[in-house]
């Protein structure tokens, strides 16, 4: 360590040693969003997961036309048939956008390029939101197409029996599903754990809660306010009223908001290996 450095002679390429850079700015948020959007679709897994939304929407539409009785070929029928696969795939997309950075270890590169992890996670959230909204619009279109094709085949008038407010509340339900996926992603930071967690969250917990409510009056009374899954069922019966929104808000605190905050804190603090 005794040698003090004399600036090295210029290499053949002639690049001189540089002064500290002052011209650098941190990457704007829009750029991070575009990069994260690219990362959502640039792997086979991501591409097919996204494509499967469209593919399954078309398959579901085809199945409704093929198997449903003629008079049941209403828009609502198509919408719910398409909605079921979407409600599963969209949260998976949200989960993987977070957890792949850990499971595939690409986070080592991502978070050294952009050390403010919160901004990366926020960019991922924006991408998930956009993918969710776009998928729902696509699903709407595929459902409408199905309704028209159905009416052509049966000779009956197309039945448009889904109101805009019903669409909106279904949209909110899907976005909440994605938010839950996102929350599990930041909380667990592991693809298999978060995916299993999601199914526990959406299928096991509601069943347990229902069973508990059947035996315990106090839980049955508290359920609309304390059971997030239960509160969300309101979204599938048209636009919720004020009390139902309040129940959604209150029940989301322990099930979504709090774990999300813990998860975000963990993401910014935890070690990336």
């Amino acid at each position: 360590m005794s040698t003090t450095l004399t600036p090295a002679p210029a290499a053949p390429t002639g690049t001189p040693a540089r002064a500290p850079r002052t011209d650098l700015t941190r990457p704007p948020f829009g750029r991070l969003v575009r990069v994260e959007a690219r990362k959502t679709f640039d792997t086979r897994a991501g591409l097919w997961l996204s494509a499967s939304i469209v593919v399954l929407a078309v398959l579901a539409t085809g199945a409704v036309i093929a198997f449903a009785p003629d008079e049941a070929l209403t828009y609502e029928q198509f919408a719910s048939a398409i909605g079921i696969p979407m409600a599963v795939i969209l949260p998976m997309l949200a989960i993987l956008s977070i957890t792949s950075e850990w499971s595939q270890r690409s986070g080592l590169a991502t978070f050294t390029m952009v050390p403010s992890r919160g901004r990366v996670i926020a960019a991922k959230a924006v991408v998930s939101l956009l993918v969710g909204v776009v998928s729902m619009v696509v699903a709407l279109g595929v459902g409408a197409l199905g309704t028209l094709v159905g009416s052509l085949l049966t000779g009956l008038d197309p039945v448009w029996d889904v109101s805009p407010s019903e669409f909106a509340s279904l949209g909110v339900a899907n976005l909440l599903g994605m938010a839950v996926g996102f929350m599990l992603g930041v909380l667990l930071r592991s693809s298999p754990a978060a995916i299993v967690g999601y199914f526990v969250f959406t299928f096991v917990v509601p069943t347990l809660s229902m069973t508990l409510a059947a035996f315990q009056d106090r839980w049955a009374d508290a359920q609309p306010w304390a059971d997030f899954g239960y509160a969300q069922t309101a979204l599938f019966d048209g636009w919720p009223d004020g009390e139902q929104w309040a129940q959604l808000g209150v029940s989301s605190l322990p099930w979504l908001v709090l774990p999300m905050l813990v998860g975000l804190w963990l993401v910014t603090r935890s070690e990336v290996k």
């Binding site: 360590m1 005794s2 040698t3 450095l5 004399t6 600036p7 090295a8 002679p9 210029a10 290499a11 390429t13 690049t15 001189p16 040693a17 540089r18 500290p20 850079r21 650098l24 700015t25 941190r26 990457p27 750029r31 991070l32 575009r34 990069v35 690219r38 990362k39 640039d42 792997t43 086979r44 897994a45 792949s100 595939q104 270890r105 690409s106 986070g107 080592l108 590169a109 991502t110 978070f111 050294t112 390029m113 952009v114 050390p115 403010s116 603090r269 070690e271 990336v272 290996k273």
Partner: protein, 308 residues
């Protein structure tokens, strides 16, 4: 310039990195040498903000890494060449980097060229890359922002001899243009061929640091008498002169003195020599082996000729 001051990381009772202080200077390649599990990777992750330190600080280009506005433009980092989404192509990984940093896409081709990855290789998914190709890709990603500092964890791992030579030339060239290079290795040979300065770490602590010349000078001189029977005479001559000497298993002697002094000693003792040369890194190697073998030692072995 990388400045590490009293950097410490504990996991429960285990001190993975213990009071690490050193500086990696511009225009020089600093080798970060230590056996597996010595804390090199943990220390490097702390330098780039991936692991929060328990105490101490690390700055790169005068700032905490996390405070750098656009780190890849100042610091190229390669921590683990395999830590990439296996389903992306090499080109895609560099494209993501270029986009994130805000560089023109033309930089992707340039940095692929810098590491001699062909277009066909670049379009293959990383899953199908050999470790050597991953290392090249990792170097490309580190270089893409045209940084002033490189932090590389075991970059020579998995490279064939030609690849190691290539890596050495890349790092040499980078430091000769005024860049700072910190690279780690658990192999003395790898560090020896490229580093100007060496920091040796064991059990999380620095056990030796200095310029390569200083550390290797400590190795002394290797000498072989022409007639094996003269070995004892030479040993006596050395001890009489107050110079430490160790007998080698195959008839040679390692003398703790510079070659000219040993030559004179042998001449005075009237011992003809078959060989007389600087003992290349044997001192460092010995210390390093001891470090690897001896896990109980709390106080590191004193290193001859170097400020620990």
């Amino acid at each position: 310039m990388i400045d590490v001051t009293a950097l410490t990381k504990t996991y429960g009772a285990h001190r993975a990195v213990d009071d690490l202080t050193f500086t990696a200077r511009p225009g020089r390649v600093t080798g970060f040498l230590g056996p597996n599990g010595a804390g090199k990777s943990t220390a490097m992750r702390m330098m780039v903000g991936l692991t929060p330190p328990t105490s101490g600080t690390a700055t790169v280009c005068g700032r905490r890494f996390a405070d750098l506005p656009n780190p890849p433009r100042e610091v190229g980092v390669l921590l683990d060449a395999s830590a990439q989404h296996a389903g992306r192509t090499g080109r895609e990984i560099l494209t993501i980097a270029a986009r994130t940093i805000g560089l023109p896409i033309s930089r992707v081709g340039e940095s692929l060229e810098q590491v001699s990855l062909t277009a066909t290789e670049a379009d293959r998914r990383v899953r199908h890359y050999s470790l050597g190709m991953r290392q090249r890709l990792g170097i490309a990603a580190a270089l893409i922002g045209d940084p002033d500092v490189l932090i590389l964890d075991e970059p020579a791992n998995g490279l064939d001899p030609a690849g190691i030579r290539w890596m050495r030339d890349v790092l040499r060239g980078f430091s000769q243009r005024g860049g700072t290079v910190l690279l780690s290795s658990h192999l003395l040979g790898e560090i020896e061929v490229v580093a100007d300065d060496i920091v040796v770490i064991g059990h999380g602590r620095i056990v030796a640091q200095g310029t390569k010349a200083e550390l290797l000078a400590g190795a002394g001189t290797f000498v072989v008498p022409a007639d094996p029977a003269d070995a004892a005479t030479l040993v006596r001559a050395c001890t009489d002169a107050g110079v430490e000497v160790v007998r080698d298993s195959d008839g040679g002697l390692r003398v703790e003195a510079e070659a000219p002094a040993v030559g004179r000693l042998a001449h005075r003792a009237d011992v003809p020599l078959a060989q007389l040369r600087a003992a290349d890194g044997a001192g460092l190697e010995e210390m390093f082996l001891q470090l690897t073998a001896d896990t109980q030692r709390e106080t590191p072995a004193p290193l001859r000729g170097a400020a620990a």
